[in-house]
Protein backbone atom coordinates (compact mmCIF):
# COMPACT_ATOMS: atom_id res chain seq x y z
CA UNK A 1 0.00 0.00 0.00
CA UNK A 2 1.43 3.33 -0.98
CA UNK A 3 0.72 6.59 0.73
CA UNK A 4 -0.22 9.31 -1.75
CA UNK A 5 0.92 12.91 -1.95
CA UNK A 6 -0.53 15.49 0.37
CA UNK A 7 -1.32 13.18 3.29
CA UNK A 8 1.78 13.35 5.44
CA UNK A 9 3.27 16.47 7.05
CA UNK A 10 6.60 17.93 5.96
CA UNK A 11 8.85 16.63 8.81
CA UNK A 12 7.79 13.02 8.22
CA UNK A 13 8.29 13.28 4.47
CA UNK A 14 11.70 14.93 4.89
CA UNK A 15 12.73 12.31 7.45
CA UNK A 16 11.71 9.55 5.04
CA UNK A 17 13.89 11.00 2.28
CA UNK A 18 16.90 11.41 4.56
CA UNK A 19 16.74 7.84 5.87
CA UNK A 20 16.14 6.47 2.37
CA UNK A 21 19.15 8.31 0.92
CA UNK A 22 21.37 7.08 3.75
CA UNK A 23 20.11 3.51 3.32
CA UNK A 24 20.65 3.71 -0.45
CA UNK A 25 24.26 4.73 0.08
CA UNK A 26 24.81 2.05 2.73
CA UNK A 27 23.18 -0.81 0.79
CA UNK A 28 24.97 0.12 -2.44
CA UNK A 29 28.28 0.04 -0.60
CA UNK A 30 27.32 -3.22 1.13
CA UNK A 31 26.42 -4.81 -2.22
CA UNK A 32 29.47 -3.30 -3.94
CA UNK A 33 32.01 -4.85 -1.60
CA UNK A 34 32.84 -7.55 -4.15
CA UNK A 35 33.42 -5.30 -7.14
CA UNK A 36 32.00 -2.56 -9.29
CA UNK A 37 28.27 -2.15 -8.86
CA UNK A 38 27.90 -0.11 -12.07
CA UNK A 39 28.41 -3.23 -14.17
CA UNK A 40 25.52 -4.94 -12.43
CA UNK A 41 23.05 -2.26 -13.53
CA UNK A 42 21.65 -4.04 -16.62
CA UNK A 43 21.06 -7.32 -14.75
CA UNK A 44 19.60 -5.62 -11.72
CA UNK A 45 17.29 -3.53 -13.90
CA UNK A 46 15.89 -6.50 -15.79
CA UNK A 47 15.13 -8.27 -12.51
CA UNK A 48 13.63 -5.06 -11.09
CA UNK A 49 11.30 -4.77 -14.06
CA UNK A 50 10.26 -8.40 -13.64
CA UNK A 51 9.34 -7.71 -10.02
CA UNK A 52 7.59 -4.52 -11.12
CA UNK A 53 5.43 -6.43 -13.58
CA UNK A 54 4.79 -9.22 -11.05
CA UNK A 55 3.56 -6.65 -8.55
CA UNK A 56 1.01 -5.43 -11.11
CA UNK A 57 -0.73 -8.82 -11.15
CA UNK A 58 -4.27 -8.44 -9.87
CA UNK A 59 -5.34 -10.90 -7.19
CA UNK A 60 -9.06 -11.12 -6.46
CA UNK A 61 -9.47 -11.26 -2.73
CA UNK A 62 -13.19 -11.69 -2.14
CA UNK A 63 -14.54 -8.22 -1.30
CA UNK A 64 -12.17 -6.41 -3.62
CA UNK A 65 -8.88 -7.00 -5.37
CA UNK A 66 -5.29 -6.22 -4.52
CA UNK A 67 -1.78 -6.12 -5.88
CA UNK A 68 1.02 -8.09 -4.30
CA UNK A 69 3.83 -6.11 -2.69
CA UNK A 70 6.52 -8.78 -3.14
CA UNK A 71 9.05 -6.93 -0.98
CA UNK A 72 9.96 -10.15 0.84
CA UNK A 73 10.78 -11.85 -2.46
CA UNK A 74 12.82 -8.86 -3.63
CA UNK A 75 14.78 -9.08 -0.40
CA UNK A 76 15.41 -12.81 -0.81
CA UNK A 77 16.46 -12.57 -4.46
CA UNK A 78 18.41 -9.33 -4.55
CA UNK A 79 19.85 -9.15 -1.04
CA UNK A 80 21.11 -5.69 -0.11
CA UNK A 81 20.43 -4.46 -3.64
CA UNK A 82 16.70 -4.86 -3.01
CA UNK A 83 16.60 -1.41 -1.49
CA UNK A 84 17.72 0.38 -4.63
CA UNK A 85 15.48 -1.90 -6.72
CA UNK A 86 12.45 -0.95 -4.62
CA UNK A 87 13.41 2.72 -4.81
CA UNK A 88 13.49 2.52 -8.61
CA UNK A 89 10.28 0.50 -8.69
CA UNK A 90 8.44 3.02 -6.55
CA UNK A 91 9.69 5.98 -8.60
CA UNK A 92 8.41 4.29 -11.74
CA UNK A 93 5.11 3.35 -10.11
CA UNK A 94 4.61 6.94 -9.02
CA UNK A 95 5.61 8.37 -12.38
CA UNK A 96 4.02 5.84 -14.72
CA UNK A 97 0.93 4.67 -12.85
CA UNK A 98 0.46 7.35 -10.15
CA UNK A 99 0.52 4.63 -7.47
CA UNK A 100 1.73 6.62 -4.48
CA UNK A 101 2.93 10.18 -4.63
CA UNK A 102 6.28 11.50 -5.73
CA UNK A 103 7.03 13.53 -2.61
CA UNK A 104 6.50 10.45 -0.42
CA UNK A 105 8.80 8.09 -2.35
CA UNK A 106 11.26 8.33 0.53
CA UNK A 107 8.74 7.17 3.12
CA UNK A 108 7.23 4.52 0.84
CA UNK A 109 10.65 3.05 0.08
CA UNK A 110 11.39 2.96 3.78
CA UNK A 111 8.11 1.14 4.48
CA UNK A 112 8.77 -1.68 2.07
CA UNK A 113 12.57 -1.58 1.89
CA UNK A 114 13.45 -2.17 5.53
CA UNK A 115 11.19 -5.26 5.75
CA UNK A 116 12.85 -6.48 2.55
CA UNK A 117 16.32 -6.17 4.04
CA UNK A 118 15.18 -7.88 7.25
CA UNK A 119 13.70 -10.73 5.20
CA UNK A 120 17.01 -11.26 3.44
CA UNK A 121 18.71 -11.77 6.80
CA UNK A 122 15.87 -13.97 8.07
CA UNK A 123 16.10 -16.08 4.92
CA UNK A 124 19.85 -16.60 5.35
CA UNK A 125 19.41 -17.46 9.03
CA UNK A 126 16.49 -19.78 8.28
CA UNK A 127 18.45 -21.53 5.56
CA UNK A 128 21.26 -22.27 8.00
CA UNK A 129 18.68 -23.82 10.35
CA UNK A 130 17.61 -26.13 7.47
CA UNK A 131 14.02 -24.95 7.30
CA UNK A 132 12.41 -26.26 4.05
CA UNK A 133 12.75 -23.58 1.38
CA UNK A 134 9.06 -23.31 0.45
CA UNK A 135 8.07 -22.86 4.07
CA UNK A 136 10.93 -20.44 4.66
CA UNK A 137 9.96 -18.39 1.60
CA UNK A 138 6.38 -18.26 2.80
CA UNK A 139 7.43 -17.15 6.27
CA UNK A 140 9.72 -14.45 4.87
CA UNK A 141 7.12 -13.07 2.47
CA UNK A 142 4.38 -13.03 5.10
CA UNK A 143 6.75 -11.44 7.57
CA UNK A 144 7.69 -8.76 5.03
CA UNK A 145 4.06 -7.71 4.61
CA UNK A 146 3.53 -7.77 8.36
CA UNK A 147 6.56 -5.54 8.92
CA UNK A 148 5.41 -3.24 6.11
CA UNK A 149 2.05 -2.82 7.79
CA UNK A 150 3.80 -2.11 11.10
CA UNK A 151 5.95 0.56 9.40
CA UNK A 152 2.93 2.04 7.61
CA UNK A 153 0.88 2.24 10.80
CA UNK A 154 3.89 3.71 12.61
CA UNK A 155 4.34 6.41 9.97
CA UNK A 156 0.65 7.33 10.02
CA UNK A 157 0.52 7.46 13.81
CA UNK A 158 3.64 9.64 13.99
CA UNK A 159 2.07 11.94 11.40
CA UNK A 160 -0.91 12.76 13.58
CA UNK A 161 -3.47 11.17 15.83
CA UNK A 162 -6.21 11.86 13.28
CA UNK A 163 -4.79 8.94 11.26
CA UNK A 164 -5.12 6.31 14.00
CA UNK A 165 -8.43 4.87 12.77
CA UNK A 166 -7.37 4.91 9.12
CA UNK A 167 -4.16 3.15 10.11
CA UNK A 168 -6.09 0.48 12.00
CA UNK A 169 -8.38 -0.11 9.06
CA UNK A 170 -5.41 -0.38 6.68
CA UNK A 171 -3.78 -2.92 8.99
CA UNK A 172 -6.91 -5.10 8.98
CA UNK A 173 -7.23 -4.79 5.21
CA UNK A 174 -3.70 -6.13 4.83
CA UNK A 175 -4.36 -9.47 6.58
CA UNK A 176 -5.65 -11.25 3.45
CA UNK A 177 -2.82 -9.72 1.41
CA UNK A 178 -0.37 -11.09 3.95
CA UNK A 179 -1.77 -14.60 3.60
CA UNK A 180 -1.85 -14.40 -0.20
CA UNK A 181 1.67 -13.07 -0.28
CA UNK A 182 2.96 -15.83 2.02
CA UNK A 183 1.46 -18.58 -0.14
CA UNK A 184 2.60 -16.99 -3.41
CA UNK A 185 6.07 -16.22 -2.03
CA UNK A 186 6.51 -19.77 -0.76
CA UNK A 187 5.51 -21.11 -4.17
CA UNK A 188 7.95 -18.80 -5.96
CA UNK A 189 10.85 -19.80 -3.73
CA UNK A 190 9.99 -23.49 -4.07
CA UNK A 191 9.68 -23.21 -7.84
CA UNK A 192 12.94 -21.30 -8.28
CA UNK A 193 14.75 -23.68 -5.92
CA UNK A 194 13.72 -26.56 -8.18
CA UNK A 195 14.27 -24.89 -11.55
CA UNK A 196 17.13 -22.44 -11.12
CA UNK A 197 18.55 -22.53 -7.60
CA UNK A 198 21.47 -20.22 -8.42
CA UNK A 199 19.03 -17.30 -8.27
CA UNK A 200 18.63 -17.81 -4.53
CA UNK A 201 21.30 -16.60 -2.08
CA UNK A 202 22.20 -20.14 -1.00
CA UNK A 203 25.14 -22.46 -1.62
CA UNK A 204 24.28 -24.71 -4.52
CA UNK A 205 25.49 -28.16 -3.44
CA UNK A 206 22.79 -30.14 -1.68
CA UNK A 207 20.67 -27.08 -1.08
CA UNK A 208 17.90 -27.91 -3.47
CA UNK A 209 16.71 -31.32 -2.40
CA UNK A 210 13.84 -30.06 -0.25
CA UNK A 211 10.28 -30.34 -1.40
CA UNK A 212 10.46 -31.85 -4.76
CA UNK A 213 7.03 -33.32 -4.24
CA UNK A 214 5.12 -30.11 -3.80
CA UNK A 215 3.51 -29.07 -7.03
CA UNK A 216 4.13 -29.60 -10.68
CA UNK A 217 5.00 -26.64 -12.83
CA UNK A 218 2.66 -25.17 -15.39
CA UNK A 219 2.71 -23.34 -18.72
Amino acid sequence: MHISDGVLPLPVVAGGWIITIILLAVTLRWAGRHGDIAKEIPKLSVLTSAFFVASLIHIDIPPSSAHLILNGLLGIFLGPLCYVAMFIGLILQALLFQHGGITVIGINTLNIGIPGLICYLVFLAGYRRKIPLTLLGGICCGLAVLLTVVCLVGVLVISGEQFVTVAGLLAVAHIPIMIAEAVVGGAVVGYVARVKPELLPIPLAGGKSEDQNNNENEA
Binding site: A38, F52, I57
Partner: protein, 254 residues
Protein backbone atom coordinates in the same frame (compact mmCIF):
# COMPACT_ATOMS: atom_id res chain seq x y z
CA UNK B 1 -2.37 -5.38 -17.44
CA UNK B 2 -1.71 -2.28 -19.52
CA UNK B 3 1.39 -0.63 -20.85
CA UNK B 4 2.35 2.45 -18.82
CA UNK B 5 1.59 4.91 -21.61
CA UNK B 6 2.21 8.03 -19.58
CA UNK B 7 3.70 9.91 -22.55
CA UNK B 8 1.03 8.91 -25.06
CA UNK B 9 0.23 12.56 -25.84
CA UNK B 10 3.79 13.89 -25.75
CA UNK B 11 3.68 14.48 -29.50
CA UNK B 12 1.03 17.20 -29.24
CA UNK B 13 1.84 20.89 -29.29
CA UNK B 14 0.90 23.44 -26.62
CA UNK B 15 2.62 26.10 -24.49
CA UNK B 16 3.20 23.47 -21.79
CA UNK B 17 4.67 20.99 -24.27
CA UNK B 18 7.13 23.62 -25.43
CA UNK B 19 8.65 24.38 -22.01
CA UNK B 20 12.26 23.22 -21.82
CA UNK B 21 12.39 19.86 -19.95
CA UNK B 22 14.77 20.88 -17.17
CA UNK B 23 12.85 24.10 -16.48
CA UNK B 24 9.62 22.11 -16.56
CA UNK B 25 10.86 19.62 -13.98
CA UNK B 26 12.16 22.34 -11.67
CA UNK B 27 9.02 24.48 -11.92
CA UNK B 28 6.59 21.60 -11.52
CA UNK B 29 8.71 20.26 -8.67
CA UNK B 30 8.46 23.55 -6.83
CA UNK B 31 4.72 23.70 -7.48
CA UNK B 32 4.15 20.13 -6.29
CA UNK B 33 6.15 20.56 -3.11
CA UNK B 34 4.42 23.82 -2.24
CA UNK B 35 0.98 22.42 -3.04
CA UNK B 36 1.53 19.29 -0.98
CA UNK B 37 2.63 21.05 2.20
CA UNK B 38 0.19 23.93 2.14
CA UNK B 39 -1.65 24.32 5.44
CA UNK B 40 -5.03 25.97 4.76
CA UNK B 41 -7.96 25.12 2.52
CA UNK B 42 -8.03 28.47 0.62
CA UNK B 43 -4.33 28.19 -0.17
CA UNK B 44 -4.72 24.56 -1.28
CA UNK B 45 -7.66 25.54 -3.50
CA UNK B 46 -5.50 28.26 -5.02
CA UNK B 47 -2.86 25.69 -5.97
CA UNK B 48 -5.58 23.41 -7.34
CA UNK B 49 -6.72 26.31 -9.55
CA UNK B 50 -3.15 26.85 -10.75
CA UNK B 51 -2.84 23.14 -11.56
CA UNK B 52 -6.12 23.17 -13.50
CA UNK B 53 -5.07 26.26 -15.49
CA UNK B 54 -1.77 24.61 -16.47
CA UNK B 55 -3.62 21.41 -17.34
CA UNK B 56 -6.06 23.28 -19.59
CA UNK B 57 -3.17 25.09 -21.25
CA UNK B 58 -1.55 21.73 -21.99
CA UNK B 59 -4.65 20.52 -23.96
CA UNK B 60 -4.21 16.95 -22.70
CA UNK B 61 -7.41 14.93 -23.27
CA UNK B 62 -9.68 14.81 -20.21
CA UNK B 63 -10.18 11.06 -20.43
CA UNK B 64 -6.44 10.51 -20.12
CA UNK B 65 -6.34 12.66 -16.97
CA UNK B 66 -9.39 10.99 -15.41
CA UNK B 67 -8.07 7.44 -15.89
CA UNK B 68 -4.84 8.55 -14.26
CA UNK B 69 -6.75 10.09 -11.33
CA UNK B 70 -8.61 6.88 -10.48
CA UNK B 71 -5.74 5.27 -8.59
CA UNK B 72 -5.47 7.84 -5.80
CA UNK B 73 -9.07 7.11 -4.81
CA UNK B 74 -7.83 3.97 -3.04
CA UNK B 75 -6.00 6.02 -0.48
CA UNK B 76 -8.02 9.23 -0.49
CA UNK B 77 -11.59 7.92 -0.25
CA UNK B 78 -11.06 6.06 3.05
CA UNK B 79 -9.55 9.24 4.47
CA UNK B 80 -12.41 11.35 3.14
CA UNK B 81 -14.97 9.00 4.70
CA UNK B 82 -13.24 8.17 7.97
CA UNK B 83 -11.67 11.47 8.99
CA UNK B 84 -14.94 13.34 9.63
CA UNK B 85 -16.19 10.45 11.76
CA UNK B 86 -13.08 9.83 13.82
CA UNK B 87 -11.30 13.12 14.40
CA UNK B 88 -12.53 14.62 17.67
CA UNK B 89 -13.68 18.24 17.60
CA UNK B 90 -16.65 20.53 17.35
CA UNK B 91 -19.59 18.43 16.15
CA UNK B 92 -21.01 19.70 12.88
CA UNK B 93 -23.75 17.15 12.69
CA UNK B 94 -24.55 14.24 14.96
CA UNK B 95 -27.01 11.37 14.89
CA UNK B 96 -26.86 9.02 17.86
CA UNK B 97 -23.30 7.72 18.32
CA UNK B 98 -22.20 9.04 14.93
CA UNK B 99 -20.97 12.59 14.88
CA UNK B 100 -19.22 14.50 12.15
CA UNK B 101 -16.63 16.93 13.43
CA UNK B 102 -15.73 20.18 11.76
CA UNK B 103 -12.01 19.58 12.19
CA UNK B 104 -12.36 16.17 10.59
CA UNK B 105 -14.20 17.54 7.58
CA UNK B 106 -11.74 20.35 6.97
CA UNK B 107 -8.75 18.04 7.38
CA UNK B 108 -10.23 15.50 4.97
CA UNK B 109 -10.96 18.23 2.41
CA UNK B 110 -7.44 19.61 2.79
CA UNK B 111 -5.82 16.21 2.25
CA UNK B 112 -8.02 15.47 -0.76
CA UNK B 113 -7.37 18.81 -2.45
CA UNK B 114 -3.64 18.49 -1.88
CA UNK B 115 -3.55 14.95 -3.31
CA UNK B 116 -5.62 15.88 -6.35
CA UNK B 117 -3.44 18.93 -7.03
CA UNK B 118 -0.27 16.88 -6.79
CA UNK B 119 -1.54 14.22 -9.16
CA UNK B 120 -2.80 16.78 -11.69
CA UNK B 121 0.61 18.44 -11.72
CA UNK B 122 2.50 15.15 -12.03
CA UNK B 123 0.32 13.94 -14.90
CA UNK B 124 0.60 17.28 -16.71
CA UNK B 125 4.37 17.33 -16.33
CA UNK B 126 4.92 13.75 -17.50
CA UNK B 127 2.14 13.75 -20.07
CA UNK B 128 3.63 16.62 -22.02
CA UNK B 129 7.08 15.22 -22.71
CA UNK B 130 8.52 11.86 -23.64
CA UNK B 131 9.56 9.80 -20.63
CA UNK B 132 13.14 9.40 -21.85
CA UNK B 133 13.34 13.18 -22.22
CA UNK B 134 12.31 13.48 -18.58
CA UNK B 135 15.05 11.06 -17.54
CA UNK B 136 17.63 12.84 -19.68
CA UNK B 137 16.67 16.16 -18.13
CA UNK B 138 16.95 14.60 -14.66
CA UNK B 139 20.40 13.35 -15.51
CA UNK B 140 21.42 16.86 -16.66
CA UNK B 141 20.07 18.09 -13.32
CA UNK B 142 22.77 15.96 -11.65
CA UNK B 143 20.63 13.09 -10.39
CA UNK B 144 23.19 10.29 -9.75
CA UNK B 145 23.97 8.22 -12.85
CA UNK B 146 23.19 4.86 -11.26
CA UNK B 147 19.62 5.98 -10.51
CA UNK B 148 19.07 7.37 -14.03
CA UNK B 149 20.45 4.27 -15.72
CA UNK B 150 18.41 1.94 -13.58
CA UNK B 151 15.30 3.99 -14.32
CA UNK B 152 16.01 3.88 -18.06
CA UNK B 153 16.71 0.16 -18.19
CA UNK B 154 13.87 -0.77 -15.89
CA UNK B 155 11.45 1.42 -17.84
CA UNK B 156 12.49 -0.23 -21.06
CA UNK B 157 12.28 -3.78 -19.71
CA UNK B 158 8.90 -3.24 -18.09
CA UNK B 159 7.43 -3.36 -21.61
CA UNK B 160 9.33 -6.56 -22.39
CA UNK B 161 8.24 -8.14 -19.11
CA UNK B 162 4.61 -7.20 -19.63
CA UNK B 163 4.76 -8.97 -22.99
CA UNK B 164 6.42 -11.94 -21.34
CA UNK B 165 3.78 -12.03 -18.62
CA UNK B 166 0.91 -11.80 -21.10
CA UNK B 167 2.41 -14.64 -23.12
CA UNK B 168 2.57 -16.96 -20.10
CA UNK B 169 -0.81 -15.75 -18.89
CA UNK B 170 -2.61 -16.41 -22.16
CA UNK B 171 -1.10 -19.88 -22.37
CA UNK B 172 -2.31 -20.56 -18.82
CA UNK B 173 -5.76 -19.27 -19.70
CA UNK B 174 -5.78 -21.38 -22.84
CA UNK B 175 -5.22 -24.43 -20.64
CA UNK B 176 -8.25 -23.57 -18.54
CA UNK B 177 -6.79 -21.66 -15.58
CA UNK B 178 -9.07 -19.30 -13.70
CA UNK B 179 -8.01 -17.61 -10.50
CA UNK B 180 -9.62 -18.61 -7.21
CA UNK B 181 -8.55 -17.28 -3.86
CA UNK B 182 -7.29 -20.56 -2.41
CA UNK B 183 -3.98 -22.31 -1.89
CA UNK B 184 -3.94 -23.87 -5.34
CA UNK B 185 -4.76 -20.66 -7.21
CA UNK B 186 -2.13 -18.73 -5.30
CA UNK B 187 0.51 -21.43 -5.80
CA UNK B 188 -0.02 -21.24 -9.54
CA UNK B 189 0.42 -17.47 -9.40
CA UNK B 190 3.61 -18.13 -7.45
CA UNK B 191 4.88 -20.48 -10.16
CA UNK B 192 4.00 -17.88 -12.77
CA UNK B 193 6.05 -15.25 -10.94
CA UNK B 194 8.89 -17.72 -10.49
CA UNK B 195 8.88 -18.41 -14.21
CA UNK B 196 8.84 -14.69 -14.97
CA UNK B 197 11.87 -14.22 -12.70
CA UNK B 198 13.83 -17.07 -14.24
CA UNK B 199 13.06 -15.87 -17.77
CA UNK B 200 14.09 -12.36 -16.83
CA UNK B 201 17.30 -13.60 -15.19
CA UNK B 202 18.29 -15.49 -18.30
CA UNK B 203 17.42 -12.49 -20.43
CA UNK B 204 19.45 -10.27 -18.09
CA UNK B 205 22.53 -12.40 -18.70
CA UNK B 206 22.13 -12.02 -22.46
CA UNK B 207 21.43 -8.28 -22.22
CA UNK B 208 24.49 -7.84 -20.04
CA UNK B 209 26.77 -9.71 -22.43
CA UNK B 210 25.39 -7.79 -25.41
CA UNK B 211 26.06 -4.53 -23.62
CA UNK B 212 29.60 -5.53 -22.67
CA UNK B 213 30.16 -6.36 -26.35
CA UNK B 214 29.06 -2.83 -27.25
CA UNK B 215 31.56 -1.30 -24.85
CA UNK B 216 29.37 -0.66 -21.83
CA UNK B 217 31.39 0.41 -18.79
CA UNK B 218 28.66 1.61 -16.48
CA UNK B 219 29.10 5.27 -17.33
CA UNK B 220 26.66 6.86 -19.76
CA UNK B 221 27.71 9.31 -22.43
CA UNK B 222 25.11 11.97 -23.11
CA UNK B 223 24.67 15.04 -25.26
CA UNK B 224 22.44 17.96 -24.44
CA UNK B 225 20.10 19.15 -27.16
CA UNK B 226 18.01 21.25 -24.72
CA UNK B 227 17.91 25.03 -24.99
CA UNK B 228 16.43 27.33 -22.36
CA UNK B 229 14.44 30.21 -23.87
CA UNK B 230 13.10 33.45 -22.37
CA UNK B 231 9.48 32.18 -21.98
CA UNK B 232 10.89 29.22 -20.02
CA UNK B 233 12.64 31.56 -17.59
CA UNK B 234 9.49 33.66 -17.25
CA UNK B 235 7.40 30.56 -16.48
CA UNK B 236 9.86 29.36 -13.87
CA UNK B 237 10.06 32.81 -12.27
CA UNK B 238 6.27 33.06 -12.15
CA UNK B 239 5.98 29.66 -10.49
CA UNK B 240 8.60 30.48 -7.86
CA UNK B 241 6.95 33.82 -7.11
CA UNK B 242 3.57 32.12 -6.74
CA UNK B 243 4.81 29.38 -4.48
CA UNK B 244 6.89 31.62 -2.25
CA UNK B 245 4.14 34.25 -2.21
CA UNK B 246 1.46 31.86 -1.00
CA UNK B 247 3.67 30.37 1.68
CA UNK B 248 4.80 33.76 3.04
CA UNK B 249 1.21 34.93 3.04
CA UNK B 250 0.20 31.84 4.98
CA UNK B 251 2.96 32.34 7.54
CA UNK B 252 1.87 35.96 8.08
CA UNK B 253 -1.71 34.86 8.75
CA UNK B 254 -0.33 32.63 11.46
Amino acid sequence: MHYPDIDKYAGMDSPVHRIEPRIKIISFGILIVSAVFVGTIPASLFFLAVAVVILLASRLPMRFILTRMKVICVFVIPILVLMPLTVPGTPLFSAGPVSISQEGVSFAVLVTVRSVTAILLVVTMLGTQRFDTTLKALSLLRVPGIIIQMLLFTYRYIYVMIDEFLRIWSSMRAKGYTFRFNRHGLTIIGNLIGMLLINSYERAERVYQAMIAKGYTGNPISFSPFRVTIPDCLFCAAVITLAVGVHINYLEIL
